[in-house]
């Protein structure tokens, strides 16, 4: 599903965030990405979601070379990936409901269908009661769960989550990771960047460790 070959990412300004990273994630596989702050976890996820472009090397997602993707195809590519952002990226002038509906609205999903699927997603993250609230009135953890609901609402075949449990207490954090795990059992590929080693031990899943932009450990290899 995802294949990186010799990927380097140098940000404007010269910092080399990823150095010669190669890895592969199979169809429907779930893995954790760990590493110290600044190791390049977010950068790796952004490259896969085509939010940043590689400096050198090649990324294939679903057998498509991202470097060859035409600009106008990018939106359609992104619809196939649910991304939970480290900074959530919520629209603060729209309600919780509208935030979650956004990925469906841009695809032109019919009205009734949108309402049904948005409520299902909000229910999964325990925010159904707050659908009419503006996100600013939500706690940090609730905002994070809102971001998760938006990422999963259109049932993408691949989920990328950047610290999705950073603001959650251990119990809620477990619930959310279990939610991802549940998606994975239904065939969704999942890659989660996290500092929380507890989940990794608990679920015994594949673990990729980044250090200073290089993969230093891959529990599957």
């Amino acid at each position: 599903m995802i294949q990186l070959s010799n990927v380097c990412k140098r940000y404007p300004g010269g910092h080399e965030a990823l150095k010669n990273v190669s890895l592969a994630l199979a169809d429907g596989e779930m893995a954790f990405l760990t590493g110290h702050s600044g190791a390049g976890k977010s950068t790796l996820l952004k490259l896969i979601a085509l939010i940043e472009c590689v400096t050198s090397g090649q990324i294939m997602v679903n057998d498509k070379n991202l470097a060859r993707l035409a600009r106008r195809r990018i939106p359609y590519f992104r619809r196939g990936i649910g991304v939970v952002f480290q900074d959530n990226k919520l629209l603060f002038d729209r309600t919780v409901f509208d935030n979650v509906a956004l990925p469906l609205v841009v695809c032109g999903v019919p009205h009734k269908e949108i309402a049904r699927r948005v409520r299902a997603a909000l229910d999964k993250v325990g925010l159904l009661a707050k659908e009419k609230m503006p996100p600013i009135t939500l706690s940090g953890g609730e905002q994070q769960r809102l971001g998760i609901a938006r990422a999963v609402v259109n049932k993408p075949p691949l989920l990328l989550a950047d610290e999705p449990t950073g603001n959650l207490d251990p119990e809620l954090s477990d619930q959310i990771i279990d939610l991802f795990h549940d998606f994975n059992r239904h065939g969704v590929g999942v890659l989660i960047a996290t500092h929380d080693l507890r989940h990794i031990e608990r679920l015994k899943l594949r673990r990729l460790t980044l250090k200073d932009g290089a993969i230093v450990q891959d529990s599957a290899a």
């Binding site: 939010i51 940043e52 106008r72 939106p75 359609y76 590519f77 992104r78 619809r79 991304v83 952002f85 990226k89 919520l90 629209l91 002038d93 956004l102 990925p103 841009v106 695809c107 032109g108 019919p110 938006r150």
Partner: protein, 304 residues
């Protein structure tokens, strides 16, 4: 198909809502567009009215044929008879040299001075009215040429020059209106483009996030295009209203003036088809302006 229409309708209302959120800025834009459209539209109406005036006066055209001094009264009358027989002539009035002098004395007040002359310096004149009240300039000019070719005729004077001049001025003004309209259309496009540009920049994060969840450029562009279109349309409506107001204010004085000339002339405003064309033009320019602005700025906003 219906869902497609429905979606566009939704975007339309969404854009209306967005405009209503910043009523002051929207109104200012609409007013600026309205005034810029009202200028060329007003000139157009003015020209239209002037053309009607000059059209009405074309019919009053007259030819004055001055006969050579050695043509006798009898020969002059005979000539008048001959000309009267032509189909394009309505009436020919022979004014003898004596009658001309008497009239001149009466009208000019130079009577005594003329008495000092030892002869009558004035020629006999045939005052000719063309048959058709709307004889056009070309027909009159041809008639004048025919008359000029006659042996008894010294000079043909077409009282047509001022109409020609007026028409030339109107022509020039018409070109001017188009030129002005073009320049203002350009300005309008830029005005709308600039408002939309600010709107795009103001909603930068929103655009970024829509792009992140897979919104296409077309999807993001749509509400901006609609708000440009709506602003243009609103501006055009505003221009129409402004024009109607000005014409209503001018109606009474124009009627008074017309009455002084014994005319029942009335100012005519934009007719419905011209008004609709104005609305369409406003909407088009608004759409175009936002299209140009959004196209450039959407590309610059990429999620990071």
């Amino acid at each position: 198909m219906t869902s497609y229409l429905l979606r566009h309708l939704q975007v339309l209302f969404y854009s209306l809502g967005q405009l209503a959120r910043t009523p002051f800025a929207s109104l200012v834009t609409v007013a600026v567009i309205g005034i810029s459209l009202a200028l060329p539209a007003g000139l157009y109406v003015l020209l239209d009215n002037m053309q009607r005036v000059s059209g009405a006066w074309d019919g009053a055209a007259q030819l004055s044929v001055f006969l050579k001094r050695d043509v006798s009264e009898r020969a002059g009358l005979a000539l008048a008879q001959k000309i009267r027989a032509r189909p394009e002539i309505a009436s020919v009035n022979y004014i003898s040299r004596e009658a001309a002098l008497a009239e001149f004395k009466r009208l000019s007040g130079f009577g005594n001075a003329l008495n000092a002359l030892d002869g009558n310096p004035l020629p006999a004149v045939l005052a000719i009215r063309p048959a058709s009240p709307h004889a056009d300039a070309a027909t009159l000019a041809r008639l004048g040429k025919d008359l000029q070719a006659m042996g008894e005729v010294e000079l043909v004077q077409l009282d047509l020059d001022w109409i020609k001049r007026l028409n030339a001025i109107l022509d020039l003004a018409r070109h001017g209106v188009w030129l002005l309209a073009t320049v203002l259309a350009l300005a309008l496009t830029l005005i709308v483009g600039n408002t939309i540009r600010l709107a795009v920049l103001g909603r930068r994060t929103e655009i970024e996030i829509i792009k992140l969840v897979g919104g296409t450029d077309a999807f993001i562009r749509r509400p901006f295009l609609y708000s440009g279109l709506l602003q243009g349309l609103g501006g055009a409506l505003c221009a129409w209203a402004l024009l109607a107001l000005v014409l209503a204010l001018l109606a009474a004085p124009v009627q008074e003036l017309a009455a002084l000339y014994g005319s029942r002339f009335e100012l005519r405003g934009l007719d419905v088809s011209a008004g609709l064309a104005l609305l369409a033009l406003g909407a088009l320019l608004g759409w175009l302006g936002s299209r140009l602005a959004v196209g450039r700025h959407l590309r610059a906003i990429e999620p990071r």
